[in-house]
């Protein structure tokens, strides 16, 4: 065990957790003021549901012994409750296995939270939590196994434990989750947007972002946490982590410029919202590629994706699906771009790189990337569609048209975010004041 590596992975895990409240603000700022709390709550709910499921069966499904050596699924019962991983001898590489368990838990959490952006202002909260749990179990945990579970080999190079098919048999490069996280969440978002349908006012009034400073705050927290997401995926405090960190910086910088340039040309203005969106698009794109490209390659990956995603967010108006906060345009498209661009810009000079098309490697890596991307996209889209239809049929998924008009914060959560005017209210039902006083008296005595 290496204490430096362990420290880095533990800190990275905490950084990645911060991304989910960051995402909550990123999304929360984008909706109208009457739906901001619900938007925050869908992210916080993901932490609750997925955090618990990860301990019960998530880690096992993703990283347990492969069932039938097919590379499709880990044994869900193997590490149930994680109690068997608490000992001093439980190590994974140079870090305690539980550090890895915690780090990967944060990935599962934020992937589920990402989906919620597609269904702003119209999903009932309970059914969302139900969908979040089902989706984590049926879609995320298996896909995480495909992408993140590497074969275990002995000193002679023989495989002693089989891992996921995309990481090992296909050998597609996805360092920190372009397929498992972003394509996966983006495809699910598209399915959910289709099942729930459009908001009442869409597309005539898509709803202006009520707080762009929140959006920038969220993007900043995401970027900060993303250094843990990408550089932490090295699972060690080493050169790979450092390269990854630099690539995460420069790709994102380039994507910001790319998005702003596209906006300036198309709309005449470089906007704050565009800058924040460009940041996230760049982070998404560099996620699969961060250990397999050079910093110059990272700039190319970021810049191209920034421009493409800026154009992709208008697809929903063209095709008529209400992906409220552009999860498809940013995460699905950005994830596809990053994953495929690995096949073009990967360089053997980078820590986990093999030469891609532009570095003399031919099409070999590109088709591997494409197969991995399409497989995850198709699996996630179909299963998400089924799960969403199931939730819709059994418990209902949408709020009523009246509740949507009043505002989902008030109708789903009995709260409103902002109290500016001279609104008058009185406590209606709570513990009577004298009872509180009696209890306080008791505690003082």
């Amino acid at each position: 065990m290496n204490s430096g590596d362990t420290a880095w992975v533990l800190v990275s895990a905490a950084l990645v957790l911060l991304m989910t409240p960051g995402l909550a603000f990123f999304y929360g700022g984008m909706v109208r003021s009457r739906g901001v709390l619900n938007m925050l709550m869908m992210s916080l709910g993901s932490i609750g549901v997925v955090g618990v499921l990860w301990v019960l069966i998530g880690y096992s499904t993703a990283f347990g012994s492969d069932i039938g050596s097919a590379g499709l699924l880990g044994n869900p019962a193997e590490f149930f409750g994680l109690s068997s991983l608490l000992g001093e001898d439980q190590v994974s590489g140079t870090i305690p296995t539980l550090a890895f368990v915690g780090f990967q838990a944060m990935f599962a959490i934020i992937t589920v939270a990402l989906i919620s952006g597609a269904i702003a202002d119209r999903a009932r909260f309970g059914p969302w939590l139900l969908f979040a749990g089902l989706w984590a179990v049926v879609v995320y945990f298996p896909v995480a196994h495909w992408v993140f579970a590497f074969d275990t080999k002995d000193d002679a190079g023989n495989v002693t434990a089989v891992g996921g098919w995309i990481a090992n048999r296909l050998a597609a490069i996805d360092f920190a989750g372009g397929t498992a996280v972003h394509i996966n969440a983006g495809a699910a978002a598209l399915a959910l947007a289709l099942v729930l349908g459009k908001r009442q006012s869409w597309p005539k009034d898509p709803g202006k972002p009520h707080n762009l400073p929140f959006v920038v705050l969220g993007a900043g927290l995401l970027w900060f946490g993303w250094f843990g997401f990408n550089a932490g995926s090295a699972l060690a405090a080493n050169t790979t982590a450092a390269v990854t960190l630099v690539n995460t910086l420069v790709a994102t910088s380039a994507a910001t410029l790319g998005w702003l340039l596209a906006e300036r040309i198309r709309d005449g203005h470089a906007t704050t919202f565009g800058a924040a969106s460009g940041i996230v698009a760049g982070l998404v794109a560099i996620t699969p590629a961060c250990s397999s490209v050079t910093p110059l390659g990272a700039i190319a990956v970021g810049a191209i994706t920034g421009v493409v995603c800026a154009l992709a967010v208008s697809l929903k108006y063209k095709f008529g699906y209400d992906d409220s906060l552009d999860v498809v345009g940013v995460h699905l498209v950005g994830g596809l771009m990053g994953t495929l661009l690995v096949g073009l810009f990967a360089s053997s000079a980078a820590p986990a790189g093999v030469d891609g098309l532009f570095y003399g490697g031919g099409f070999d890596q590109l088709w591997r990337q494409a197969v991995g991307a399409v497989a995850v996209l198709a699996y996630s889209f179909v299963l998400s569609l089924v799960l969403a239809l199931l939730v819709k049929a059994v418990v209902g998924f949408r709020v009523s048209a009246e509740d949507e008009a009043v505002g989902i914060d008030e109708t789903e959560h009995a709260e409103t975010a902002y109290h500016f005017g001279a609104e008058r209210s009185a406590r209606r039902s709570a513990v009577p004041a004298d009872e509180v006083e009696r209890k306080l008296e008791g505690s003082r005595a």
Partner: protein, 112 residues
């Protein structure tokens, strides 16, 4: 007695207030309001989606004045509120039948 009502750019409130004080106007009522004139509002762009914003934030300034002061008060407001750009607002004058000071019960010009 007259009521002078002015719709002005929010950024010009201080100039209007200074001008009215120089003219000896002792009080005014200011409220936030929204509206548009012939030019309509403006366009905002969020992720490429254009939004027409018709109702623009303005301030409504109301001043009660004696009839003899009306012209110079109107001139004062117009001069102070003018930027020369579209959306500078409007000023209009209406007749007032009665004014009563709540504290003392004084009426008419005394109550202004």
């Amino acid at each position: 007695m007259k009521l002078v009502t002015a719709i002005v750019q929010p950024s010009k409130l201080d100039d209007v207030k200074d001008a009215l004080e120089r003219l000896g106007v002792l009080g005014m009522t200011v409220s936030q309001t929204q509206g548009y004139g012939r030019q309509k509002g403006h366009t905002e762009v969020y992720r490429g989606a254009e939004y027409a914003v018709d109702f623009i934030e303005k301030l409504r300034v109301e001043v009660l004045v004696d009839e003899s002061n009306v012209d110079k008060v109107v001139d004062g407001i117009v001069t102070a509120a003018r930027t020369g750009r579209v959306g500078d607002g409007k000023v209009w004058v209406t007749s007032v039948d009665t004014v009563v000071r709540v504290r003392t019960g004084e009426t008419g010009v005394e109550a202004i």
